[in-house]
């Protein structure tokens, strides 16, 4: 592994941590069946 590899690996690692953070914290685990989590989203637009 050279420096380049380590840099790429670092980016991938951070990317994975970010995806994890986003889907668990921001998207509340993508919980779709639950009524509680999506009060602000409109369910469907028929515009």
């Amino acid at each position: 592994m050279d420096i380049m590899d380590i840099a790429v690996a670092g980016v991938i690692f951070i990317g994975a941590v970010y995806i994890l953070y986003r889907s668990i914290w921001k998207k509340k685990g993508h919980c779709s069946g639950c009524n509680g989590c999506c009060s602000k989203t409109k369910d469907k637009f028929l515009l």
Binding site: M1, D5, A9, I12, F13, G15, A16, V17, I19, L20, R22, S23, I24, W25, K27, K28, G29, H30, C31, S32, G33, C34, N35, G36, C37, C38, S39, K42, D43, K44, F45, L46, L47
Partner: protein, 722 residues
């Protein structure tokens, strides 16, 4: 462009969400029990240049709310002042539903009454005088069958006509009698002078009535304590002429009106049929048979789930560990990727995510069955049957509904606790919910059951679910004596009639539940797989045992030693499972993957081309469908998991067989069932209860519980000579 806001209000289970789905083509959750919707939701619809915001509200029996979701409904109606209310009424229960309608009239907001579930009322031989009903209440009345989209066009036209001012709806002011009317007047007059701001916030007649009733919630909201002189004066003559409390007097008047109107507009001819619902209930709700029937139904469900899903799981497994891995490997080699990238993708991502994807078919079948349970009306019966047991832990049967929903995913169950009356009930129920085995735990069970108990697969799976329920009651019992003291009042819950769920709804709701697991696999199981690969390969090139993850695992493994699975592999997988329970399986798959890929590289089928592999995959999918159907038809236990044993063993399974014994495997499964709830449950608890405290309690209590139960199983089993 004109916008109007239309609130959809009505009693629980009257078909409000179904009606919105029919009008706007949305997929709001629908189920045949009271309390499905616990949060207001908006669907937007555009017709010509009219924008209609349809707001789905939780069901409520009155505008004096008891539970949190009822508060949500009331607050919206009272504070946000929608332009129009569609009052969805269950026409098979007209009188009880009109009790709410009478209160909606007090708001002074125009109302369209949807006489829903008209089909069932017709079948029962009910006949309605719609003209008369319109006349008596001063509102529009439209019969509807939301499930069949009957009356939807009429509702839409009525909304449109109303929005464009083609006609007016002036709800009748119900006369509450001289005494009360004069009090209402006095209060309104007084507020006009002393507190006009308040009157601009709330409908004045409604507010006056609530102040007369002395409604605690309203008093608090408007900062009145009740002994203000103007209130005392306005109410004084009421106290003189009526000794009973004014609140129940008003309730009596409203019931009287609902009863009178019903008698005027509804004629009941004799329905021809014997009540089908009653017949089934006589057996299903039987004092002694109720719980055994529920337990047997569960066993049957697992049998079905295994038989039907096994061929598809096998297909996904073969495809992923075979062609997908092979061709990813080839493709990466061709483009000259470094060795570590190949390993990250094949041994990290494909092995990890693949291990979870394999179980999507089982999860799908389970979600289908849970949706069926929700739609048929049996769910409310289970709550009823469990009522006695639940009382022993100071809760009532209603708490069992969020718990049952937890078989799908624990997260929505935490929100579903809103249907319970007190904060204590809600918190206690939320603490018990994670003991209900959610879909995410299925992959762990199924892989271990396949490796150790394939002859008794459904029974072992069933035993785990029952263990979860049993432990929930046991834990509830302890908590009732310690942290959450209290008693539950008598159980009041409406039992809806049995209904055959609409097929489209069934499919949509199954998919909505399943989607959650698929998205999870694609996002955070994926992310965790990548992270785990790094932990398994730092420092790069060492044995897995000496990697970062290996060392973490070794440090904690002594904790699990007395439970029979004190290996670093099991320990680190269990810790990672905090993120999501599927991760236990994905991490194990990554740890044990090595040999598999190596074998693949030597390439048994190397000579096979891409197209051939693709063809094989399609063909074998066809076989999987055939096998699944055959399993279903040939009924019980002839094929299914045991039949697959002749096929080549999957590496993860055979690895597990080398490390666990049936006894330690069962202890491990019990541990996975009971130990700490995943972080997303924690976030939901924080959101609902305002602090991390409850999740903190759950982490400690459940981990201890899991440890002791697994300990008892392992040590007990050893003593018994397993």
């Amino acid at each position: 462009m004109k916008t109007i806001t239309v609130a959809i209000a009505g009693n629980p289970n009257s078909g409000k969400s179904t009606l919105i789905n029919a009008i706007a083509g949305t997929n709001l959750q629908v189920g045949n029990w009271p309390g499905v919707t616990v949060e207001k939701k908006t669907a937007t619809l555009k017709i010509d240049d009219l924008i209609i915001n349809l707001v789905d509200l939780p069901g409520t029996y009155s505008l004096s709310p008891y539970t949190q979701e009822e508060v949500i409904a009331r607050d919206f109606l009272v504070r946000e002042k929608p332009d129009l209310i569609i009052d969805v009424v269950d026409s098979t229960n007209l009188e009880r539903n009109l009790y709410l309608t009478v209160q909606l009239l007090e708001l002074g907001i125009p109302i369209i009454l949807a006489l829903n579930i008209y089909d069932e009322a017709k079948k029962k031989g009910y006949e309605f005088d719609i003209e008369k009903l319109q006349e008596l209440l001063g509102i529009r009345v439209i019969p509807t069958v939301a499930t069949k989209k009957e009356g939807i066009k009429e509702i839409l036209n009525a909304i449109k006509d109303f929005a464009y001012g083609f006609y007016n709806i002036t709800p009748k002011k119900i006369n509450y009698g001289e005494d009360i009317e004069s009090s209402i007047k006095a209060i309104e007059e007084n507020l006009k002078v002393t507190n006009p701001l308040l009157l601009s916030k709330y409908p004045s007649r409604w507010l006056a009535l609530k102040l007369i009733e002395g409604d605690e919630l309203v008093m608090k909201e408007v900062d009145l304590i009740g002994d203000e002189t103007f209130l005392q004066e306005a109410k004084s003559h009421l106290f003189k002429s009526h000794d009973e409390d004014i609140e129940s007097m008003l309730a009596d008047i409203r019931y009287g009106i609902a009863n009178g109107v019903t008698r005027d507009v509804l004629k009941k001819k004799d329905g021809k049929r014997v009540d089908f619902t009653e017949k089934i209930d006589r057996i299903v709700l039987n004092r002694y048979l109720g719980i055994p029937i529920f337990l047997f139904a569960m066993w049957f469900v697992f049998k079905f789930a295994f038989d039907f899903s096994a061929p598809f799981s096998d297909w996904i497994d073969t495809t992923i560990s075979g062609p997908v891995t092979k061709w990813t490997f080839h493709a990466l080699t061709v483009v000259g990727s470094p060795q570590w990238v190949i390993s990250l993708l094949t041994e990290g991502v494909i092995a990890g995510v693949g291990a979870v994807l394999v179980f999507i078919p089982v999860i799908a079948v389970m979600m289908f069955i849970i949706t069926l349970l929700e739609g048929s009306g049996y769910m409310a019966r289970v709550a009823f049957v469990m009522d006695r047991l639940m009382h022993s832990i100071g809760l009532h049967g209603k708490s069992f509904i969020p718990m049952l929903l937890g078989f799908g995913c624990n997260v929505p169950s935490i929100y579903a606790t809103r249907v319970l009356e007190t904060e204590r009930d809600r918190k206690l129920t939320a603490l018990l919910v994670p003991l209900m085995s959610c879909g995410a735990r299925l992959p762990v069970y199924v892989i271990f059951i396949g490796a150790f108990f394939s002859d008794h697969a459904p029974t072992v799976l069933w035993s785990l679910y029952v263990l979860g329920i049993f432990m929930a009651i046991a834990l509830g019992f302890i908590l009732k004596k310690t942290l959450y003291k209290g008693f539950a009042p008598v159980f009041i819950m409406e039992l809806p009639p049995y209904r055959v769920p609409v097929f489209r709804d069934l499919m949509i709701h199954t998919w909505q539940k399943l989607k959650h697991f698929v998205i999870k696999a694609g996002t955070y199981i994926f992310a965790v797989s990548v992270i785990m690969w790094f932990l398994l390969n730092t420092p790069y090139g060492v044995e897995k045992e000496n990697s970062a993850l290996g060392r973490i695992g070794k440090t904690i493994s002594p904790v699990f030693e007395p439970l029979g699975f004190g290996t670093w592999e099991a320990s680190s997988s269990l810790v990672a499972g905090l993120i999501a329970k599927e991760v236990v399986v994905s991490t194990m798959a990554q740890i044990y993957v090595k040999e598999e890929v190596e074998e693949e590289k030597e390439g048994v089928d190397k000579e096979k081309g891409f197209i051939d592999d693709l063809k094989d995959a399609f063909l074998s999918f066809g076989f999987a469908i055939r096998d699944a159907i055959e399993n279903l038809i040939s009924g019980f236990g002839i094929k299914s998991l045991s039949a697959n044993e002749e096929e080549e063993q999957r590496p993860l399974k055979s690895k597990l067989q080398g490390i666990f014994t049936p006894l330690t495997a069962y202890a491990f499964l019990a541990f996975v069932l009971l130990y700490w709830p995943c972080v997303v449950v924690g976030i939901a608890m924080k959101q609902e209860f305002g602090s991390w405290k409850l999740y903190g309690q759950a982490l400690v209590i459940h981990s201890l519980l899991a440890w002791f139960v697994a300990f008892a199983i392992y040590q007990g089993g050893r003593i018994l000579g397993f």
